[in-house]
Symmetry: C2
Subunit: 409 residues, 2 copies
């Protein structure tokens, strides 16, 4: 007997036909004793339709009411999907986030799950029902409906799996697993059988968009194995878990990530006295701007510093406003903005004990004649800022170096 939690996104439940497709697949694959929970998102574009309606009534809808509104999207899909199972003769029951015991804090529109009270789901499973849970939503201790923000259904699925101590949480998606690089730009990218939570988080942070970082974190903290697999076929995908159970070819570098939503700001000629970096980055933090790579370099000729950092292109306008405001008080020479940049990164938990990883990466980029503007490292990753036009070449050059044998399957 296995307890399995399976998450399907909005495109998988976009029409009655697609819902029946899910039902057929589940009933075909289900072993008689399996306890099955499905976590689903709102149908197709229905969330966007609700957002458009909300904007017509009030462009600045209160966040609590926004959650009240958006939560209806999943409530529609769970009721219909449960009905689709019953149409095929299998007992099923739907639960809203609140009914499934998804307790969150009260940060409306981006609430965090604090606890899962699984008894109602558990009881329904014990009655032989397939349980359909609304993703993306929860309830506060005061009974207010909350949503978890975009991609929150992944987190719901992992949290439900944790609450039930499920054997596996399966995330059905439009890619069939986690690859050593984006298969759209690296033709011989390898699908991984397994990857650790820490590596997956680092890949997600550095631009690989397969899984929501919060869902992976929730899996890590509760030790829930997550199987990322395709909606369109039965091929095994990638399992994210705490430790490897199989020996794969390459354990030092697990993947190459890239991110083009990056912009560089260079603050030139900052007088060299204590606290200047603090002044800049605390001002950016106050404006709620995430800073990624940071490099400070001393200029020999005039005893001043250059401070370079990156932000997302999305937050560039806000960030430049903050720096502009600091110009007079800080008395720096000038600042420059560069938007035609991208970040390439290598990730691998094994790099800690493997010297030379960074050198090899820089070598691969040099051989491809690609200039590196900024370098930053974490315990399990190395990132380089390069010209945006070179990103495909760079990812391929690095990938060819670490994965010279092409696809493993």
């Amino acid at each position: 007997m296995a307890t399995l939690v399976k998450k399907f996104g909005g495109s998988s439940v976009a029409t009655p036909e697609k819902m029946h497709g899910i039902v057929d697949r589940i009933l075909r694959e289900k072993k008689p004793d399996d306890r099955i929970v499905l976590v689903v998102s709102a149908m197709g574009d229905s969330t966007d339709d609700l957002l458009a309606l909300a904007a017509k009534v009030n462009p600045e809808m209160p966040k609590r009411e926004m959650d009240m509104l958006l939560a209806t999207g999943e409530q529609v899909s769970i009721a219909l999907l449960a009905s689709a199972f019953e149409a095929k003769g299998h007992p099923a029951i739907s639960f809203t986030g609140a009914q499934a015991g998804i307790r969150t804090n009260d940060k409306h529109t981006k609430a965090a799950i604090q606890d899962v009270l699984s008894h109602r789901v558990d009881e329904a499973l014990n009655e032989g029902k397939i349980v359909i849970v609304a993703g993306f939503q929860g309830v506060t201790d005061e009974g207010a409906i909350t949503t978890l923000g975009r991609g929150g259904s992944d987190t719901t699925a992992v949290a439900v799996a944790a609450g039930l101590k499920a054997d596996l949480c399966e995330i059905y998606t439009d890619v069939d697993g986690v690859y050593s690089a984006d298969p759209r730009i690296v033709s011989n990218a390898q699908k991984m059988q397994e990857i650790t939570f820490g590596e997956m988080l680092e890949l997600a942070r550095l631009g690989a968009g397969v899984m929501q970082p919060r869902a992976v974190e929730y899996g890590e903290h509760n030790n829930v194995a997550i199987h990322v697999r395709s909606t369109f076929n039965d091929v095994p995908g990638t399992i994210i878990r705490g430790e490897y159970t199989v020996q794969e070819k390459n354990f030092v570098i697990r993947g190459v990530a890239h991110d083009t939503n990056v912009a560089k700001i260079a603050v030139r000629g900052v007088p060299d006295h204590p606290g200047v970096a603090f002044t800049i980055f605390s001002a950016l933090a106050e404006a709620n701007i995430d800073v990624d790579m940071i490099v400070q370099s001393a200029r020999v000729e005039d005893n001043k510093n250059d401070i370079l950092f990156t932000v997302t292109k999305t937050e560039l306008v806000d960030a430049t406003a903050v720096i502009e405001d600091l110009k007079e008080s800080m008395n720096f020479d000038k600042f420059e903005v560069e938007i035609n940049v991208a970040k390439v990164s290598v990730v691998g938990a094994g790099m800690l004990g493997s010297p030379g990883i960074a050198a090899a990466m820089f070598g691969a980029l040099a051989k491809a004649n690609i200039n590196i503007a900024v370098i930053s490292t974490s315990e399990i990753s190395i990132s380089c800022l390069i010209p945006e036009k070179d990103v495909t070449n760079a990812v391929n050059a690095i990938h060819d170096y670490y994965f010279p044998n092409g696809k493993e399957e």
Copy 2:
């Protein structure tokens, strides 16, 4: 300081523009100290849209899941309406039926309200907020979402008013009050200032469709005054309450109702022995068919009986099947069905102490040359079954007799 509960139907919240119209009206009429609760239905045709979608997935959707689905309709409108108030700068908060404490039994799709736990609504009112409650829905003790059936938002409004001990429950509708007859067929029908719960219930039972009978019953049991008034203007409507507070012109007969959804079944030549009526009407009750008027008459010539009764046209096919099945065992001669019939009724709590009411009604019909097929009476009403083609003439003839002075306003 007054506590007012106001109910608006689906057509009143069909678009963002109409929602803003409600907001403007409420804020214009509201006195600073007023505590205002709005109960609203789903936007326009959205419930029908959900029903169409449900039928595509499964024509026989489980009732629990149907409630899960349909409840989203009101949840959308309450969130948007609260947002519309906030857009105009007035604090507002929305509550689902469950959050507003509407506790029901578990008869999904036609649940009955058992209790209202008003503390959350009360707290929000005390914080100066306008409270928007989802009509038509509630929650069971086990936490399942229920709906109250068509027209259930009226019942929600009265129940919320009862829970809050509100001063008045106002039902905004497309007619501007309760009339002495249907104004569409009686040109000088009079709008009543007041009517008692009992009279309103009897009128509703006999075909006057202004208010849901269950909502009126809830008002009667909890002594909540209900003001039926127009969505389109500020003219006072009709107040339904336990006792009259003003002296109106005519207290004996309050209204003339008519109903064309009536069919007559005559069972001829039933052998005269004990239990034959029980056999017929228990068989109909088992088939869940409502029987209205019943007349049994003995035939002198052969010592047999004729039993006549009426059902709705909607249930006629089912009813004839029941009677057909009884033919052999009961050994009656034959049965006849008549669908071109209608029922006209007079209603008035005062008729108890006023002899001659029935005679006057029969006189009015005779003068208009209208034949009466069946007569039935209750404590506060008299009904006659007549040919359907005569219904307009009949209602006008009776109305002219009891309300000779035309409109009172």
